[in-house]
Symmetry: C2
Subunit: 396 residues, 2 copies
Amino acid sequence: MDLHRLRDFGRTDPGVVRPSFSDVDMAAREWLRSRFADAGLEAAVDGVGNVFGRSPNPGPALVLGSHSDTQPRGGWLDGALGVVYALEVARALAEDPVTRHLAVDVVAWIDEEGTYTSCLGSRSFVGDLPDQVLAHTNDHGETATDAIARVGLTGVDRARLDPQRHVGYLEAHIEQGPYLEEAGERIGVVTSIVGIRSTRVDFVGEQNHAGTTPMNRRRDAGVAMFEFAVRLRERFSGIAGPTTVWTIGQAELQPGAASIIPGGATAHVQYRDPDDGRLEAMDVALAEVSASVAADTGVGVTAARERDPIPPCHMDPGFQEHLSAAAEARATGAWRRMPSAAGHDPMIVSHHLPCAMVFIPSIGGISHDFAEDSHEGDIALGCSVLADAAASILGG
Amino acid sequence: MDLHRLRDFGRTDPGVVRPSFSDVDMAAREWLRSRFADAGLEAAVDGVGNVFGRSPNPGPALVLGSHSDTQPRGGWLDGALGVVYALEVARALAEDPVTRHLAVDVVAWIDEEGTYTSCLGSRSFVGDLPDQVLAHTNDHGETATDAIARVGLTGVDRARLDPQRHVGYLEAHIEQGPYLEEAGERIGVVTSIVGIRSTRVDFVGEQNHAGTTPMNRRRDAGVAMFEFAVRLRERFSGIAGPTTVWTIGQAELQPGAASIIPGGATAHVQYRDPDDGRLEAMDVALAEVSASVAADTGVGVTAARERDPIPPCHMDPGFQEHLSAAAEARATGAWRRMPSAAGHDPMIVSHHLPCAMVFIPSIGGISHDFAEDSHEGDIALGCSVLADAAASILGG
């Protein structure tokens, strides 16, 4: 089966190491191109590394796919599942006399995982790929432009969204979370992809001798940061909806020595929610907590947006109905509508084309880890649901 | 004046960079040796780098001094003040017909600041310098043994405490804290040097995706560390005496990425107090806070001693009386008894010989910094108090 063959590119057992533009990534893309062609698609690796297989049928066409690059230490299904589903659906529809006239274009996006810049392939597809994005580098300092040149794609045509032909984009993915498995459900119809806000909070106190400086004379930036983190947790808990998450994943004390009172500290706060209004309320709460900690500790506290906020993006309601009908037919009662807590290429594409996503359960909710896996029965079921929905959207 | 001349060795204006065994440190030691000899002392740089000047008078003798090495970015008075005071006192007593029979030996210890190992010189003097201590390295990986060889002191005699001759050790030092200046006082008679305990607290949670892992399924090691820090502060505040201090100067999250829930975290807690019983109570409180945070967060919390605790050490009560009488005579009502919140060579020497220390005010409480300074009037006053006390202890 193609899904298992694709796993061989960068295979580490049980994980996969296939970061974008690596030798194994490009070998996998050449293999995917040949598989797309074998399925009767007009297939090419495009000028940014996307593998695009165009149906010979006239439109209206759906684009189906996902990304085939992985995390630095990734699982075997993240991205790969959706690419192979898309190819299977294109094949299945072409083989059935009832649906063989339908147009399904298949894509394997490049660099969704952001080895250089996240969603590079879909950004190119929608025509939103400015030079400064191509100038982003990987951990070794190579720019995306240089990577494209290194793999011999400079000047090659780039696949582009065709408004005359394309009517929507569908992507299947593993859930990467525990909700479906915990509820004993097998299909998730995605309602939206959560928005993400990242705020850097800097604390400026007074560095001093940890022995000779009395407690009441200190302005300890670390004390302020610890207090901030605990108060923020309390405030955010009061605002949170059922799927809100927030994390302080990075925090530092300066200068960071046992005998020195920290003169500086930095905390990086990230919060995600499907509702932009709730994210806005969390911004306000964070500012209020910053001000109260500054007032109570005498330490300067400044909060600043760390990078551009990613707004929540909503899946097309009509497409959701098609996916829900297919899910109910194939897994009666054992599916749900749910937001996606992780980012995906539809964050980019949905601003240009109606999108929808379907999830299958992740065992133990594990992803971005070698141990990522799903049950074979769920893998087969998800592909059938996607095929049914694609056919029904295209009126087959 | 010798104090200003000593400042020239490693001078940076206003600070001094004269770490132990550096070229400027050894040049300063050779200069000190010649100054000790000029004052009529039998002077030598000993086998670990101490400059020791023995009075030609028979005992009983007091040892007076301090260290002449500095912090990597040090002030001009830390250590130097006590060395030059000792030389001045030896000179003054020798010039006065009433006191010229008294025996004052003068010392400039090496490496009190721990460029290699703290209090190296005084450890050698009391005969407590095992090979593993000499194997400690500086930041460039050179051992103390290799440094001694590099400066040509291998095999040279080491000055040693002589129980038949030495009856006590006196050291003057800048306060390095704000208490005297804030109270408008000019002399501190040190009662004890605070004990120091250092505890490393490790938090073991579960690393996971910061988007797809629901809040109620997380075991976030960072959340546990922040909670621990805030609760510990509350508990320690309830135990603290007037001079208790505690600091979390170092703290890390692992792996330390914005989109990853920390699977691990480490906090380094240091606490100081003149009362060993209070330090013991803080140990107990820390263990209780660790257990409560573990119970409330599901994160594993283990606390372990980071290095050997330094017990509080007490200055000789009789010597304190001599210093107090001298302080009252020279600065009526403008002096106090106080603990030292920083470590000094008497921590080593007091286990073998009665010790006492006298402080003068630090401007702004600043030390271990280029900006360290004291008023000229206080510098002169402190030297007179030390001379009076030395003469009175020796019965002059």
